[in-house]
């Protein structure tokens, strides 16, 4: 039997005051307080410095179990959390959803409660449906829920590692312009990043890409960002370019463009980089990349690319997240 959750959680969701610490979960980047984010980045920086200095890993999470519940395949995010948990002395437990009882009709809620009952202190959840983190949080009694991507909705840990990497390379984002390029409509990475950038006070966020992969004007307006339909103009303004993974087919609907046309119209090609981008532009991609479609090999491997920094920093950020959520309660 499930105990009914607190009445306060049933009220219409109000924006949390940005000065308070987040709950014991990390579900969205929309409501992360700025001070919390800054403290998190400090923590991640300390882990990184410790690694460089060759210090032994801390044992902050010794004896804890970190459940990795991946209802969708993701090598990168899963491995990153796995390594982060290990380095903190915890034991990662991966549930192979494809062979699990979920296939026999067990719900997300059932799985969460089962894993918690087995002693998982953290549940990292990747799921194809929006708001699945919130669903999990509603039934978890003590465990920390971390959203590792829910449908096309949010991917807050990716946003944190992206922003951390930008700040590491650039020092400050004040006055800079951040461009998200490509499939904005279905991108949880864009959504989470944009929310986080707003929290951190970045004013100039723009998007560019195929009109059929853009949210409506109203939605863009509600985010406070603008669509720049001419790619070259968008690139010329940007200090940071987030190239997003494009899928030319979604839910059985093909977009009216082939990979070759996509590259020509919207791809971040070597030629465009040289011709239109600022000399010190930073290029990001959350992976996995369609090389030769949304981004050229030369760009992905080139001097402007932060792709490997993103991957490396991802581990430190996730260590910091685990540690801080653990300390929170």
């Amino acid at each position: 039997m499930m105990a009914p959750r607190l009445a306060s959680e049933k009220r219409p969701v109000k924006k949390a005051a940005k000065s308070t610490a987040p709950s014991r979960h990390l579900l969205t980047s929309a409501e992360l307080p700025k001070v919390w984010v800054e403290a998190l980045f400090d923590e991640a920086r300390r882990f990184k410095t410790a690694e460089k200095a060759g210090h032994p890993w801390s044992e902050d999470l010794k004896g804890q179990h970190v459940g990795l519940l991946f209802f969708e395949p993701s090598t990168r995010t899963r491995a990153s959390f796995h390594i982060a948990a290990k380095r903190l002395g915890a034991d990662p437990v991966t549930v192979e959803i494809a062979f699990s009882s979920v296939q026999k009709g067990e719900s997300l809620e059932d799985t969460v409660m089962t894993m918690e009952a087995m002693g998982c202190h953290f549940l990292i959840i990747r799921h194809g449906e929006a708001l699945s983190g919130q669903r999990a949080a509603r039934v978890a009694k003590k465990a920390h829920i971390i959203n590792a991507g829910d449908g096309s909705h949010e991917h807050p840990t990716q946003a944190l590692l992206d922003t951390f990497t930008v700040l590491e390379r650039r020092g400050s984002l004040a006055g800079g312009t951040v461009l998200f390029l490509g499939d904005i409509l279905f991108s949880r990475v864009a959504r989470s990043n944009i929310e986080l950038l707003k929290t951190l006070g970045v004013k100039n966020v723009i998007v560019s890409g195929p009109p059929s992969l853009m949210p409506s004007e109203e939605e863009l307006e509600s985010w406070g960002i603008s669509y720049v339909p001419e790619l070259n103009k968008a690139l010329a303004q940007a200090d940071v370019v987030h190239v997003l993974r494009v899928q030319l087919e979604r839910h059985g609907q093909k977009m009216p463009m082939t990979p070759g046309s996509y590259r020509e119209a919207w791809g971040l090609t070597e030629e465009r980089l040289v011709k239109f981008c600022k000399k010190d532009v930073l290029i990001f991609h959350p992976g996995p990349m369609n090389v030769g479609v949304e981004i050229d090999r030369e760009v992905a491997d080139g001097p402007h690319s932060c792709v490997l920094d993103q991957v490396a920093n991802g581990v430190f950020i996730r260590m910091a997240i685990l540690k801080r959520l653990h300390q929170a309660c």
Partner: protein, 437 residues
């Protein structure tokens, strides 16, 4: 500076919809362009020495017509029409630029077919400009989108599955969005297929009395309604082809009032504002067209929509079919009638002479209107502009006994119409001259 031969058109009345004026003038043409426009202000003409003079007293001189809805049958059905015979039909009708639909066999849905059609079209460029409308979906079947970007890069002017609507509303929306980034548009044929099921003519008085399955008027309105809803939530421009019913033009009128005026346009065809379902009784399959000829009420509604500006252009929907195909009877005969050669005369006979619209408005609907739909500069009668003209007698009758088109499936065959084309000029060359006038 090398000087080509001079041609002077003397005594005509210039109809210039771009400038919204009509005036008597002599026009001097050199090197394919307008060299001078001399307003005569009641003065007799001054002809220049060494100049070929073309006297056109009593005739109207207008920019050559743009026909944005033409079916030429090459490749695949060259027995009905080819690019060459289509070009001949165009110049006889005063058409200087036409946009051909992709329902050829195979459909214009890929680079290879596009280039083939382009080459055939280019071969006619001395007579007429031919532009290509490419398909929205592969084979126009509604399931798989074509590579719009590639086709646009090749030069496709617009996109349409004409002959059928863009069946999948989600593909329509994506196509509207994508074409918006390429300064292009989607042209839709509005018809809800599930309401037709074998219908051959308008569902009404005539279909009932002849016992022929009908095409209900709602079939068009349902589709127009869908398209407008999809357009609202997209970024693109949408043009609705050959509207035929009262309900359809009313939906467009409302949508334009409610903020879609810049992104929504529509056209009507001469046969729809000239004829009713009754024509089927006399003409049989020659009057079988899709959408079908409707009722007097609909014709009146089209007139009103033309008057109040709901309608942006007149287009022929020139659709040639051979005699043997049309002679199969009402049920088996294919839909469509030719219209390139009769578009101007039918417009003059049924709209201008009864006083529904002025000649200037008629020419506007046949030139600047289509240009605006295609987002092109309007043809202007000014020095330096290409010398593309139609010269015609608005008040003279011609009986159509034959056509330059390879087909002759026209309900106007054997009929007398006002507005006889005297000559057509393309880049200063007389590409058609009616010697009997």
């Amino acid at each position: 500076m090398a000087q080509g031969p001079l041609l002077q058109i003397v005594g005509g009345k210039v109809i210039d919809p771009a400038a919204q004026t009509e005036y008597e003038a002599d026009i001097l043409i050199q090197n394919g362009k307008i060299a001078r426009v001399d307003k005569r202000w009641l003065k007799p003409s001054v002809t220049l020495p060494g100049t070929e003079v073309f006297h056109v007293h009593g005739a109207a001189v207008a920019p050559a017509l743009w026909d944005i809805h033409v079916h030429l049958r090459e490749p695949g059905q060259e027995h009905k029409e080819t690019m060459a015979t289509g070009a001949q039909a165009a110049v006889r009708g005063g058409v200087g630029r036409m946009f051909v639909m992709p329902n050829t066999e195979p459909a214009i849905d890929n680079e290879e077919t596009y280039k083939l059609v382009e080459a055939q079209g280019k071969a006619q460029e001395k007579l007429v400009d031919i532009e290509i409308i490419a398909a929205v979906t592969k084979g126009r079947e509604g399931a798989e989108p074509t590579d719009l970007y590639r086709l646009r890069k090749l030069g496709a002017a617009a996109f349409s599955d004409d002959g059928a609507p863009v069946k999948d509303a989600q593909i329509l929306r994506a196509a509207l969005d994508e074409t918006s980034a390429m300064d292009s548009l989607v042209i839709d044929h509005c018809e809800e297929g599930s309401m037709i099921r074998g219908g051959a003519i308008h569902e009404g008085r005539v279909s009932r009395s002849l016992g022929v399955p009908g095409i209900p008027r709602e079939s068009e309105a349902v589709s127009v309604f869908r398209d407008i809803q999809v357009l609202k939530n997209s970024r693109g421009r949408l043009h609705l082809a050959h509207l035929s019913t009262k309900e359809a033009v009313e939906l467009v009128r409302k949508a334009k009032k409610n903020g879609l005026a810049k992104r929504l346009t529509c056209e009507v065809c001469p046969h729809h504002f000239a004829l009713t379902e009754e024509a089927v009784r006399d003409m049989g399959p020659l009057a079988k067209v899709n959408p079908p000829l409707r009722t007097e009420d609909d014709v009146k509604a089209l007139h009103e929509a033309i008057i109040d500006g709901t309608v942006d252009a007149i287009a022929s929907d020139h659709a040639p079919h051979s005699d043997w195909e049309k002679n199969q009877g009402l049920l088996a005969a294919p839909f469509g009638m030719i219209g390139l050669e009769t578009m101007l005369p039918v417009t003059i006979t049924y709209l201008v002479r009864p006083g529904i619209i002025s000649l200037l408005t008629a020419i506007e609907l046949l030139t600047t209107g289509p240009a605006r739909i295609m987002n092109r500069p309007a043809p202007k009668i000014e020095p330096g502009e290409p010398a593309d003209f139609v010269i015609f007698y608005p008040d003279r009758e011609t009986t159509f006994r034959s056509f330059a088109s390879k087909s002759r499936n026209s309900p106007f065959l054997g009929r007398s119409l006002y507005g006889s084309v005297l000559a057509t000029l393309h880049r200063g060359q007389m590409v058609y001259r009616n010697e009997s006038l």
